[in-house]
């Protein structure tokens, strides 16, 4: 083993030990599996404290430069810390848009002043960030965003509506895609990108109740909201390019994220554990041949997802369709989770009709909520149907639909 690898293993073990020792006690509510499930101040503050604690311990922002609150370590260290967190199944890191999107963007393209201003407060979760790309009428068609930004002296005046803003009502800043020019030939060329403050007059974030009954998003209205012109990121008209760059961070196609640990993995192991005490036809569920067969199908699929993620990093094994694994990862994983969670509920028998809040519900209704919440993954960031289009066109070279 190389010295480097030894160091890494030691570090991973250290993080694991810390997590084991410091993992917070059961807060009495279902912990969010993703950052889109933070529906109350109580949950928010719980996770804000936890992120701060992990940051103070030195386990997020490892690749960011020391002068901005990071540690200047290679990517492998952050991956090791993230792995350790996933392994210990600690609560997620809260400030996802800051840690994974805005932060890396500022780090890559921001001025020194911007870096000073924003980065450390992202790591400490003092400033929560949100994202304003989607609009009510153009869910899948980001390039068609109509929210306007009109230059007026030293300000831009923003008008329009964004939707699916996670933390819209808790955020200090939004990464905002808005139209500075409505008359360009290509719709993309009229867009600009802003690091917009949310605490200015004219910004209203109205919580959206989710299918689960809980909250987690807002619809965000801009009514002549003035933001300083200095908030513009890049040049006017480059907004689409900056946004696409930002999406690359989301898709993990590029490094620089302060952590990847923004969701709690839900595994077949969890499912098997959850249904351990369930019976079917008077027998333990796992004695039922058809249940077994279905579970094995899911195990095969889960394993293939893990293996494919590894294989995507080995170019020699991706020669036929070079972008296939990278582009299909989201589709495959989110659809797998949808089916797996749906199946998990079906295994619960009568208990499957109980919901979060019922004392008889299996794991407090975890699987019901997990199934419902998973639609944010099969819909958000490009629906599964759009993902299939992308793969068909960009991997197989099929004509546009």
């Amino acid at each position: 083993m190389t010295a480097e690898k030894q160091d890494l293993n030691k570090f991973r073990a250290e993080v694991s030990a810390w997590m084991k020792a410091n993992k917070p006690a059961d807060p009495g509510f279902l912990l969010p599996q993703t950052f889109m499930e933070v529906g109350s101040e109580e949950v928010l503050e719980f996770l804000r404290d936890w992120q701060r604690k992990v940051y103070d311990a030195g386990y997020i922002g490892l690749t960011w430069p020391k002068e901005y609150g990071g540690k200047g370590l290679p990517e492998e260290y952050q991956l090791a810390a993230d792995e350790a967190m996933a392994h210990e199944r600690v609560p997620i890191m809260l400030n996802v848009i800051g840690l994974g999107w805005a932060g890396p963007l500022v780090l890559k393209s921001g001025t020194d002043e911007e870096k000073q201003k924003y980065l450390k407060r992202i790591l400490t979760a003092e400033d929560i960030w949100c994202q304003g790309f989607s609009e009510p009428d153009h869910g899948s068609d980001l390039g068609n965003a109509q929210t306007s930004a009109v230059k007026d002296g030293d300000d831009y005046v923003i008008n329009g509506t964004k939707i699916w803003t996670t933390f819209g009502n808790y955020s200090k800043y939004m990464i905002l895609l808005a139209r500075t020019n409505p008359n360009t030939e290509r719709k993309y060329d009229g867009l600009s990108f802003f690091l917009a403050p949310m605490d200015v007059p004219g910004v209203t974030a109205v919580p959206i109740q989710k299918i689960t009954g809980e909250y987690g998003f807002t619809e965000t209205f801009f009514d002549n909201a003035r933001i300083p012109a200095s908030c513009l990121m890049g040049e006017e008209g480059q907004g689409w390019r900056v946004a696409m760059q930002t999406l690359q961070f989301e898709r993990s196609a590029e490094g620089g994220q302060a952590t990847h640990y923004n969701f709690t993995p839900v595994t077949m192991g969890d499912l098997l554990q959850a249904t351990e005490n369930t019976t079917r036809d008077g027998q333990p569920l796992l004695k039922d041949p058809i249940v077994r067969d279905n579970l094995v199908k899911f195990l095969i699929e889960e394993k293939s997802l893990r293996l494919s993620a590894t294989r995507a990093e080995i170019p020699a094994l991706c020669q036929d369709y070079p972008f296939s694994l990278a582009l299909s990862g989201k589709l495959r994983a989110t659809e797998y989770f949808r089916r797996m969670r749906q199946y998990a509920i079906s295994l619960q028998g009568g208990k499957g009709s109980l919901y979060v809040g019922d004392e008889g519900a299996i794991e407090g209704g975890f699987w019901q909520r997990a199934y419902f919440n998973n639609f944010s993954a099969t819909i958000g960031g490009g629906t599964s149907q759009i993902q299939s289009n992308i793969i068909g066109q960009h991997v197989l070279g099929l004509p546009k639909s």
């Binding site: 068609d141 299918i211 009568g350 208990k351 209704g365």
Partner: protein, 378 residues
């Protein structure tokens, strides 16, 4: 497989009339706004609507005329249940109907005379059958033991529909080592014995009921010779009614999806023009239609006597097909609404939640297929 499959499916004018009036009634009384207003309510239903339903005679539609009903048999319940599902109309109809069927099929003459006319007149009754999450368990954990001249019950039942308002409970118990049914009045146990479930389907009301300590007279036992088959038949009738309701909701879900696909544009095209949405929507239609065919077949052959193998097959197939169709419809309803579908405001949530509910009532699809396999292959 030497068994000859029964493919009977017919429909008379009376049934056509019931179907038509059921649809009109439910449509008129249960707009989606009405449904949503009731979600947070205590009882989950509108008393005025229930009263109107009673006036139409629906709670007695399958009760013989000799016991104060209309005597149109179980077949008439299928179009009613389907329409209720279609408009997500909630009332204690299913609970009361199952209780009436329990009495009709398993009660003594005097019990029938005492209770069936009352149920036909709107008395809310219900059945308490489930001891655990496992619809396939054939043991009954709740017990009745002799205590002098009375019976003393113990044990807790799950998912007892409308227990909060029911005045009469038909409870399955183990008595003298045999499956038995016993009648319990609401007044015979404290309110604290009833605990409302938090259900995934917010239009429904079901309760955990602890019958421990309840004492009833022996005359409240249903006919011991019939109890076992009555319990079996109740489970099948429950499955059939759930199937009918689920099929109605699948159609509601389909309509909700189609409406959106016809009006929402993305990339300057109506999204319904995309085959990725259109074709699965057609599949939903087809699965729903298959469920309806099974349902109307069941409605054709069901009778008041003990269920035959053909009837059992019909009920189980209808349940398996209908709840799978609704699971598929509800899931796609959410997905195809995109971001909107992810909101509580979108009606897709009502359908996907109903799907999870229906799936688990009276046994899921696999439960029924397993029993069908035995009928066909053993």
């Amino acid at each position: 497989m030497t068994r000859e499959m029964n493919y009977a499916l017919s429909f008379d004018d009376e049934q056509a009339m019931i179907m038509k009036s059921a649809r009109e009634f439910c449509k008129g009384k249960s707009s989606i706004q009405d449904v949503r207003e009731l979600l947070g309510s205590d009882t989950g239903y509108d008393k005025k609507v229930w009263k109107a339903m009673v006036e139409l005679g629906w709670p007695g539609i399958a009760i013989p005329e000799s016991f104060g009903g209309i005597g149109l048999g179980i077949g008439s319940l299928v179009p009613l249940a389907e329409s209720m599902g279609r408009y997500m109309l909630a009332t204690p109809f299913f609970s009361a109907t199952l209780a009436a069927q329990a009495l009709l099929r398993g009660g003594t003459q005097s019990q029938k005379e005492e209770w069936l006319p009352q149920i036909a007149d709107g008395l809310i009754a219900t059945v308490a059958l489930l001891d655990s999450e496992d619809w396939g368990a054939d043991t009954i954990n709740c017990t009745a033991v002799d205590a002098g001249d009375t019976l003393k019950l113990s044990g807790t039942k799950w998912l007892v529909g409308d227990a909060g308002v029911a005045e009469l409970f038909v409870v399955s118990v183990k008595y003298q080592d045999k499956p038995s049914l016993v009648l319990v009045n609401a007044g015979q146990f404290p309110k604290s014995a009833i605990q409302r479930h938090t259900l995934i389907d917010e239009t429904k009301r079901a309760f955990k009921v602890d019958f421990s300590g309840v004492e009833v007279e022996k005359s409240r036992l249903l006919d011991p010779a019939l109890s076992e088959s009555t319990i079996r038949d109740l489970m099948l009738i429950g499955a059939l009614l759930t199937a009918a309701e689920a099929t109605g909701t699948a159609a509601a879900s389909l309509d909700n999806t189609v409406e959106y696909l016809k009006s929402r544009k993305q990339f300057n095209k109506l999204i319904g023009s995309y085959q990725a949405l259109k074709h699965p929507t057609v599949d939903i239609l087809n699965e729903m239609e298959a469920a309806r065919s099974h349902l109307y077949h069941a409605a054709t052959i069901m009778g008041d006597g003990p269920l035959s193998d053909d009837m059992e097959i019909a009920c189980r197939m209808a349940k398996a097909q209908a709840t799978e169709a609704l699971l598929f419809a509800g899931d796609r309803d959410v997905q195809f609404h995109g971001g909107m579908g992810f909101t509580y405001e979108c009606d897709a949530q009502l359908h996907i939640r109903r799907a999870q509910w229906s799936q688990q009532q009276f046994g899921d699809a696999y439960h029924h297929r397993k029993r069908l396999a035995s009928l066909f292959f053993d």
